[in-house]
């Protein structure tokens, strides 16, 4: 995703995002942990795929 496209929003919208910090929305800790594990697996795969093949 182009970083420029990510900048296509107003200060008001960004403020909305930051104001969400003031909320205290309960989160299912199992969801949070499960997502963290999946994301780390994704990152690890990407790191592995970027590493040069030692046989090359």
């Amino acid at each position: 995703m182009a970083e420029d496209a990510m900048m296509d929003f107003s200060i008001e919208e960004l403020r909305e995002f930051l104001q969400a910090d003031l909320l205290d929305v309960p989160v299912d800790p199992r969801f949070k942990e499960r997502l963290k594990r999946r994301l780390w697996e994704l990152v690890e795969r990407q790191v592995r795929d970027r590493e040069p093949n030692p046989d090359d």
Binding site: E3, M6, F9, F17, A20, V25, D28, F31, W40, E44
Partner: protein, 201 residues
């Protein structure tokens, strides 16, 4: 002299977003944990505020972070990480709202078609028209209780009369998955209609 673990943790927690991104790209799990912890609640709060239910907020949060970490290699630092993540979260949430609206429009259309007996409507008694209306409400309620994908398959089959193969192609699923979903939803609809009929007696 090696640093003790507590000072290393404090150092990791204090790192800038850019430093964390660089470290994550190199496979640093502690940096990943810090970044995830730093932004998770913010993204979740924002998603929940816009979507107003936990399941959708979880889906949006998952989609946002998946996009963030998938495209982290392309992040160049011209925008702050906060605004970059926010942009992804905002687009994810907006897409989800658009999908829900399309789903609602489809449900309303299905209800309108079900509630209209077709040609010769004047041939039906008020009781029969009321029965059609009740059935339409039951079907719509049932379709709301299944996943959007399952509701869409049902709609494509029974309101747009598409063959199974075409539905499978459109939804990128196997024919068996489509058939299985249709069977399940039809079962739910039939059970709901039977309960409604029993209740109305």
């Amino acid at each position: 002299m090696p640093r003790d673990r507590s000072s290393f943790s404090a150092t990791t927690e204090d790192r800038t977003d850019q430093d964390l991104v660089t470290a994550i790209r190199a496979g640093d799990e502690s940096a990943f944990s810090v970044l995830y912890g730093r932004y998770f609640q913010r993204v979740y709060n924002f998603s929940y505020t816009r979507l107003r239910n936990r399941a959708d907020a979880e889906e949006a949060t998952q989609d946002t972070f998946t996009a963030v970490f998938r495209s982290m290699g392309a992040y160049r630092g011209t925008a702050s990480l906060l605004s970059w993540i926010y942009g992804i979260a905002r687009n994810t949430v907006n897409n989800q709202i658009r999908k829900s609206r399309a789903h609602e429009v489809r449900l309303e259309r299905a209800q309108a078609e079900l509630g209209t007996p077709g040609l010769g409507v004047d041939d039906y008694s008020p009781e029969e028209r009321l029965s059609f209306r009740r059935s339409a409400d039951v079907i719509q309620h049932t379709l709301r209780s299944v996943t959007p994908w399952q509701a869409e398959v049902f709609f494509l089959r029974h309101f747009e009369n598409l063959p199974i193969q075409e539905i499978a192609d459109r939804m990128s699923r196997s024919n068996d998955a489509v058939r299985s979903s249709l069977y399940r939803v039809k079962r739910l609809v039939v059970d709901a209609l039977e309960s409604e009929g029993a209740g109305a007696d």
